[in-house]
């Protein structure tokens, strides 16, 4: 006991004041606590499954006419009970997104009437300009972080794979064209070697992709996109991380401006 006391004797008043400040900080809720206690919503599991499938359909990731996995497979995959999946499929049927056929080749299918482009048009019209700009800022930040790392880490043969994917872009099939461009974008950011950043990019790409189909129909903006992406690829191959970031920002600016132009034309 005695030795402990004497060890504390030399502490100066500044250290004591510092301690006091620290304990005041500890008593105050931290800035992050605000987000910690945000509402997590009270959506039931069936509703979460429904929302996940609905966004895949309206986003065009499950195509019209495509067969959904079986109820049991979906239940295992989502980690929920088969009855929960059944409940969500019922809701999707009532929204007209899914149809169910009986018989040997039966099952649940994406409704033929589910048109992702129509959904994207509605979504774009309902999105404010500030939200579009913010989506662009988020997308640019993640992509820029990825290509900065990719420029430092990728080897030329890997970059060449992205380039050969871009070379297969075919304007005669716009759906294929968009999915090839999405794949090339993901393949490029995966060269960052960061799983977290790549997953975030995929999430953002899935969000943007249906809206990008709306600007793909315009020849000028369609042809601008591969060229803009190619300049990011060039910078990554050259190992020039600053140019890769700058080229990414030019690419995202062009896309967001095209979306905003389209939005103001249709208002």
């Amino acid at each position: 006991m005695h030795s402990t006391d004497s060890a504390e004797t030399p502490r100066n008043s500044a250290a004591v004041a510092d301690d006091a400040a620290r304990s005041r900080d500890a008593a105050r809720p931290g800035r992050l606590q605000g987000s910690l206690f945000q509402s997590i919503g009270d959506a039931g599991r069936a509703e979460l499954v429904e929302r996940r499938l609905a966004s895949a359909i309206t986003g065009g990731h499950l195509r019209a006419g495509e067969r959904l996995p079986s109820e049991n497979d979906l239940a295992r995959s989502f980690g929920v009970a088969p009855t929960t999946v059944r409940e969500s499929l019922l809701a999707l049927r009532s929204q007209g997104l899914v149809v169910t056929r009986r018989g040997r080749n039966g099952g649940s299918f994406v409704a033929d009437s589910a048109d992702p482009v129509a959904h994207a048009r509605t979504a774009l019209a309902a999105t404010s300009r500030v939200a579009l700009r913010d989506l662009g800022a988020h997308y640019a930040a993640i992509t820029a972080a990825c290509v900065r790392l990719a420029a430092r880490r990728a080897v030329p043969s890997e970059v060449q794979q992205v380039r050969s994917r871009l070379a297969r872009l075919d304007e005669s099939d716009l759906e294929q064209w968009r999915s090839t461009l999405d794949d090339a974008q993901i393949e490029l950011v995966a060269l960052s070697q960061s799983a977290r950043l790549t997953r975030e990019q995929m999430r953002l790409q899935a969000e943007m992709s249906p809206m990008l189909r709306l600007i793909d129909v315009d020849e000028t903006s369609r042809q601008a996109q591969p060229a803009l992406l190619a300049s990011v690829v060039d910078a990554v191959e050259a190992g020039d991380d600053h140019e890769a970031v700058a080229a990414t920002e030019r690419m995202v600016d062009a896309v967001i401006n095209a979306l905003i132009d389209l939005q103001s034309q249709s208002r």
Partner: protein, 234 residues
């Protein structure tokens, strides 16, 4: 230049790495051969559906994932485009600690439509007819993690029909292999064939970094027998 100490360290490290990968590779090659035979037998009865393929592949995949000593995250078979009657791109793949068949629906960007024939783990065995170690790379198709994929071609009567594969997460490789390499005492870095750091006992060498242009670039590399990885000892 290379000192006798680092040479023997490199050789011992390479032996540890070869030993670590030997069981998964042997299991995968046996699976690829067996699958070829079983597919040929089923194929004789008529065109194959994805359900038939899944039934054939599942026991092999589950046995591979359950191998002792090496933590295997996922395993399965990927048919070449057009092999199956009902699906263009079918992944017969089981993954996770409680392995479940991978469903690609609704997870992200068009995973269902990703053309995997361009991906290294599929392309190289298809083109060379030989097994291949791909990665480390971000596997955005199956594991969604930083991964090494070991793949072997499957043939029916000499015709390529797809790839049998298994995934090792770099996270597991680090946990399982790094302590063994650290016991050697010297700084040891495992790199792949394009010079990317897989793991290193030197915390300054980050997984995923390229060795080119850095201090490691000039050092001698020692091949690990049976697996296309190399050791750099400092």
């Amino acid at each position: 230049m290379t000192t006798p100490t680092s040479t023997s360290t490199a050789a011992r490290a390479a032996a540890i790495v070869s030993q670590y990968f030997s069981a998964p590779i042997a299991s995968l090659e046996a699976t690829a051969l067996l699958l070829g035979t079983e597919l040929a037998a089923s194929g004789n009865l008529g065109p194959l559906s994805s359900q038939q393929i899944d039934a054939l592949v599942e026991p092999h995949a589950l046995a591979t994932v359950a191998l002792p000593d090496v933590h295997i995250y996922g395993a399965g078979f990927i048919a070449t485009v057009g092999l199956l009657t009902d699906e263009r791109n079918h992944l017969s793949w089981w993954q996770g600690d409680d392995p479940k068949r991978l469903l690609l629906a609704a997870q992200s960007v068009n995973k269902e439509h990703i053309d995997y024939s361009e991906l290294e783990w599929f392309r190289v065995p298809m083109e060379t007819g030989r097994g291949h170690v791909a990665g480390p790379y971000v596997d955005y198709l199956c594991s969604d993690e930083y991964t090494i994929t070991i793949a072997a071609p499957v043939h029916i009567d000499g015709t390529f029909v797809g790839v049998a594969g298994l995934d090792l997460l770099i996270d597991s490789v680090e946990r399982q292999l790094l302590p063994k390499l650290a016991e050697l005492g010297d700084k040891v870095t495992l790199v792949n064939s394009v010079g990317r750091v897989v793991i290193s006992t030197d915390p300054r060498h980050a997984t995923g970094d390229a060795v080119r242009g850095g201090a490691l670039a000039e050092l001698e590399r020692t091949e690990c027998e049976g697996v296309a990885l190399e050791i750099i000892a400092e």
